[in-house]
Point group: C2
Chain length 330, copies 2
């Protein structure tokens, strides 16, 4: 069976590709475990760091959302698609048309390409808690309606509805996952308002100072890179009946305050490491971050077998192991 | 100010056009009442019955969803758009691509045309209770999430999210109304599963027998043609602040059982008229109708000043007055 991962060279995409190669098999749409004979990694451009050397990997660099591109990516033997490619929230807000084209039209073209397959493929879609916003309850539940207040969030929700209807029609076997904030992201800080949530762990562990632009009591709904990859795999292995009439699920996560995060950092790395976090509230970032939901009481995902992390200390330890080669700058 | 009504020759469209001509004015996006100098009635084809003879009316027959068509309809002096054009539920289910093109892409093209205006237009969108479905609570509330189980419903909900985001971005000043089942529709029975809800009133009042395919205890969430036109006008006159961060509202309505409807028919038209309703349960229709929500506890619309009907007797009396010229076949 051939598997396609869009956005496959991104931070989560790379890990998912690795995990898929390791797993080696996935169920097809009829639930029969099939060997992954080919894994197509699609992304907008060749990644700076090379992908694993594996004969099953096939690369496709270019814009998947362009006319005809999805049809080239979703070849007849494609049994599963992981759709991670997206224009991120800040950019989708500034470049509205680009966000619409990639995040909404791109999903639709991918769905149309799946619809043309001889038998329906499983499609796992990377949606987001950006689905929530505006007039929200204090605690987000499974039944809380999506009220996005960003174009990114709207495009994700619009894609979820497309995936639900294409699934109901039998054109695809789709599953949408609303991802919490993924922490700890490796690499450099970026322009995302949530960048600090990884930065306050990542930088101090490497001997650098990190500025935290929000107050210590600020809550964040988080999931680790390891856990989210497990969730992607789990989503692809669940039978269609497990989803029933609702093809979208809010992934489990954990609410941690920034203060909790720094305390866990001190426990794992020592007081010296934790002292490298400097609090400098930034009203602009605060306004954005306080608009995000941080408290969730979602149970559907857990009932379906999706798992969150055990604790924030474990997230830091996994980051040190996976991304810092076990080394901490004490 | 120029006003555009898509689907303007349909059952509700015609009434809305008449009401707009009668009203003569509408607030512009800045809330200043402006004279309606031109009223563009767009629909797919010329209607069988002529539109009112009024110098303000301009007609545009053709497919509004085709490339470039929306830009021709939304001319620079357009201050308000009522978007009623749609492929109805049964047809959108059978002709998926047609439904997507008209109901989703068409809305987007209309929004893009509005975005090109020198100042944002108000846009009132005809959405539907088809937004609800599947795993619903027993009673639909304002906060009940949209879980459509038809392509029509999905396309309506997708359009709502587009309208919300285009409004948030300031590209348009949009308002989406989720319409209950509109009863009593004039004219002939059609293939809609809800056709009986009008038919059991309309036909007996004209001396004809009507077959009711669902049981007397079946509930329906209804709004009259008069009331829905008032809701459209009201939606266009509310200031943007009244909508806040949520551009979608479930219109008020009233839950009546089919038994209540026939009892009201007997009160208004007499026992002889009501005896023309024959109950012949049809399992196919029953299955569809029982999947629709019939009990609502929505308060937001009323708080915003939208009004439902006073009672079902009044709905029948208005139908007799508006559509039967006051005549009942006793």
């Amino acid at each position: 069976m051939r598997v396609l991962v869009t956005g496959g060279t991104g931070f989560i995409g790379r890990r998912l590709v690795k995990a898929l190669l390791q797993r080696g098999r996935l169920p097809d749409a009829l639930g029969r475990e099939q060997e992954i004979t080919q894994l197509c990694v699609s992304d907008v451009a060749e990644p700076p760091a090379p992908l694993p050397a594996d004969p099953r990997i096939e690369t496709a660099y270019g814009d998947f959302s362009l006319e005809g591109a999805a049809a080239d990516l979703v070849t007849e033997d494609t049994g599963a698609v992981f759709h991670l490619a997206a224009i991120v929230s800040g950019q989708a807000e500034q470049e509205f048309d680009l966000g619409m084209r990639i995040n909404l039209d791109g999903t639709r073209r991918l769905l149309e390409a799946c619809r043309a397959l001889p038998s329906p493929a499983r499609l796992v879609f990377s949606s987001s808690v950006a689905a929530y916003g505006g007039d929200m309850p204090d605690v987000i539940e499974d039944a809380t309606p999506a009220t996005p207040q960003t174009s990114y969030g709207s495009q994700k929700v619009g894609s979820e509805y497309l995936i639900s209807d294409y699934s109901r029609k039998g054109f695809v076997d789709g599953r949408s996952l609303r991802l919490p904030t993924i922490v700890v992201r490796a690499g450099k800080p970026n322009a995302a308002a949530s960048s600090f949530a990884s930065g306050i762990i990542r930088e101090p562990l490497q001997g650098e100072e990190a500025i935290c632009p929000v107050r210590a009591e600020t809550g964040v709904w988080v999931l680790s890179p390891r856990a989210v990859v497990d969730c992607f795999l789990h989503a692809a292995t669940l039978p269609a009946e497990a989803w029933g009439m609702n093809r979208t699920v809010a992934l489990p996560g954990m609410t941690v305050t920034v203060g909790d995060m720094v305390a866990a950092l001190a426990e794992v790395g020592g007081a010296q490491v934790a002292s490298r976090v400097r609090f400098e509230p930034d009203p602009f970032i605060e306004r954005i971050v306080y608009g995000w939901p941080s408290r969730f009481s979602v149970h559907r995902a857990a009932g379906m077998g999706f798992k969150a992390d055990d604790g924030f200390k474990g997230i830091i330890e996994a980051f040190i192991q996976d991304d810092l080669g076990g080394h901490v700058a004490a």
